[in-house]
């Protein structure tokens, strides 16, 4: 009961804290929409092939584009409050429906990349901390430097050359076998096969980041007094590493993983265009090519909202994980 109350309090504080940020993001989105060349009426006219001055004016008044900027901002905000992100004449669908269709693929890709990079990064970081200053540490340090500097989209293409073109083990792109009606385990396996290369390319840079972070925080946690106590009690090195050091070293990593959500989303945009995955990134790419700014800015808005939600969730997770944060507030 008490924990629910503290979590509720933390949620309330976090939401209150995000409010100015949220308003700012909405304002920037509206501003960008105003700056975009051509308005919705121009796009509609362009799609239909011909338009007269009168029909353009009619369209503008229908969309409220002939009103003053503050009025338009008001309309924009009230539309958003009704979950209305506008209409894409290009796809003949509402922007929120388009984004809803594509969100799943992007989130799957990001989740897999996150899991992969956390598992491998933490494992490598532990190895580096274990052999601090000796050759495994140095070799892995150089590797992390390489991973950190490689462009994700390029390594994706190189993986395609090796694993799809030369070896023929994995598909070059897409999100599932076309026409195969799979359920249960085969469906999951199929998805994993298609996601293996994109998720690895996206994860690469984060493996480097988490490995270094884990190394640093393992070394820091390992130097604490309670670790010396545990050693003095005669606990096995394994028990000390996993129960006493790793648990405390993981806390800063959960914070960072939350902060990386936005960056990973950006990475997913490029990776999806490489592997032609039908996700948000691919949609953004198509929107850029078609100059469909409604869709593009809708994606920017939704992805910003996703980052805000993740930040709040990470805050809650930390409150739950670390009793010290709970009592400090």
């Amino acid at each position: 009961m008490k924990i629910l109350l503290t979590l509720g309090g933390a949620l309330w504080r976090a939401l209150l804290h995000t409010l100015p940020t949220l308003l700012g993001i909405l304002l920037i989105n509206f501003l960008l929409l105003q700056l975009a060349p051509g308005d919705a009426a121009d796009v509609m006219a362009g799609e239909s092939g011909s338009a007269t001055q009168e029909s353009l004016a009619a369209l503008r008044s229908q969309f409220g584009l002939d009103q003053s900027i503050p009025m338009q901002l008001w309309h924009y905000l009230s539309n958003l409050a009704h979950f209305n992100l506008g209409y894409s004449p290009r796809y003949g669908a509402s922007v929120q429906a388009l984004i809803g269709q594509r969100l799943g693929t992007t989130l799957t890709l990001m989740l897999l990349a996150l899991l992969f990079s956390l598992l491998l990064g933490i494992a490598l970081g532990m190895l580096m901390a274990r052999w601090q200053g000796r050759w495994p540490d140095r070799v892995l340090y150089v590797c992390s430097q390489f991973f950190y500097s490689v462009p994700g989209f390029w390594i994706g293409l190189m993986l395609i050359v090796v694993f799809s073109v030369k070896l023929g083990w994995l598909p070059t792109g897409g999100s599932g076998t076309i026409g195969a009606d799979l359920h249960g385990w085969p469906a999951l396996f199929d998805t994993l096969r298609f996601m293996a290369l994109p998720a690895s390319s996206l994860a690469l840079i984060y493996i480097a980041i988490y490995a270094r972070l884990t190394r640093a925080s393992m070394l820091e946690a390992g130097a604490q007094d309670y670790v010396r106590t545990a050693e003095a009690k005669g606990l096995s090195p394994w028990a000390i590493t996993f129960k006493h050091v790793l648990r405390n070293a993981l806390l800063p990593i959960t914070t960072m993983a939350g902060l990386h959500f936005g960056g990973m989303l950006g990475g997913a945009v490029v990776i999806e265009t490489v592997f032609s995955l039908p996700g948000l990134g691919r949609l953004a790419y198509d929107a850029v090519m078609a100059r469909d700014y409604n869709v593009l800015l809708g994606i920017l808005l939704i992805s910003s909202l996703l980052v805000i939600i993740t930040n709040v969730l990470v805050d809650l997770l930390q409150t739950w994980l670390d009793p010290r944060i709970r009592s400090r507030r």
């Binding site: 540490d137 430097q145 500097s149 293409l157 190189m158 640093a216 490029v270 850029v288």
Partner: protein, 283 residues
């Protein structure tokens, strides 16, 4: 000042990885600067037979692409765009972040609160998605790429500068400068700035690395300057032939990788050089 910095420079030059990065960077910069002399003419112009493999014809050491364009000329000319965008965008980002961070940290109060919210807004929006939106709206060209990458990269610098300025704002020598009646601008420029310069230099070199990466990703997606060849756009057009001529994708990517690596190695070396006692991977 100089006497304090030169041991740092000496330490940097004694660091083998940082030195390797520096040498590579100097070489690639020279190639980029002298590209018009080495490879006069348009690198987008058709020169020879299409799809020559590297080494097949020593007149074209890195081969030619599907339209018979010299890959070596493309790499050398592409370096101009990548380095130019990377360096100028970071410079713009550093200056913007420096100004905003210094004002927020120095004045504090309501100004600080407002600017912190602004920083938070920019750190919340996924920066690459914002970058794509910005470039798509203002239309891609080298100046707009520099502008857009600068716009999304200033918050890191601003946060850093703000924190540093706040920590030294109440030190005695700043209070002394204030009591003498120096202007705010003079105090920031002469007393505060030299103290945060080392941190700023390290951040800048890592920012150039990420700016080069972002430029390459944008031009790979077709959002680069359409009239200039860049490493990213070479990968973008080379991927059409990835099954048969994978070297068209591999070579420019290698150029990006090595350049970014060089900037990161120098950044690491600078961190060590400025903090000789610190454990190098504990940042």
């Amino acid at each position: 000042m100089n006497a304090r910095r030169s041991p740092a420079l000496r330490r940097l030059l004694r660091n083998p990885t940082a030195l390797a990065g520096l040498i590579f960077l100097i070489a690639i910069t020279l190639l980029a600067v002298f590209a018009p002399l080495l490879y006069p003419g348009d690198p987008l112009g058709m020169e020879a037979d299409a799809l020559l493999w590297p080494g097949q014809d020593w007149h074209y050491p890195l081969g030619t692409d599907a339209l018979g364009r010299d890959v070596m000329a493309g790499v050398v000319h592409g370096g101009r765009v990548s380095l130019q965008v990377g360096i100028l965008a970071s410079l713009f980002g550093v200056l913007l972040g420096l100004a905003i961070g210094a004002v927020a940290g120095y004045f504090g109060g309501k100004v600080d609160y407002g600017l912190q919210r602004l920083i938070e807004i920019f750190q919340t929006m996924p920066s690459f998605v914002l970058l794509v939106a910005l470039v798509a709206i203002v239309q891609p060209s080298v100046p707009t790429l520099i502008f857009a990458i600068g716009i999304i990269s200033w918050p890191t610098v601003a946060r850093l500068v703000r924190a540093e300025v706040r920590s030294i704002r109440e030190r005695e020598y700043i209070l002394a400068a204030r009591s003498v009646g120096y202007s705010h601008l003079r105090i920031i420029a002469h007393e505060v700035l030299p103290n945060i310069l080392p941190t700023l230099i390290v951040t800048a070199s890592i920012m150039v690395a990420s700016a080069v990466l972002m430029e390459s990703a944008l031009s790979f997606m077709g959002l680069g300057d359409p009239n200039q060849v860049s490493w990213g756009s070479m990968i973008g057009s080379g991927r059409e032939q990835i099954r048969t001529a994978w070297y068209l994708t591999a070579i420019p990517g290698l150029a990006i990788f090595l350049t970014v690596l060089a900037f990161n190695l120098i950044g690491d070396g600078l961190t060590d050089a400025f903090n000789p006692t610190r454990d190098r991977a504990s940042k």
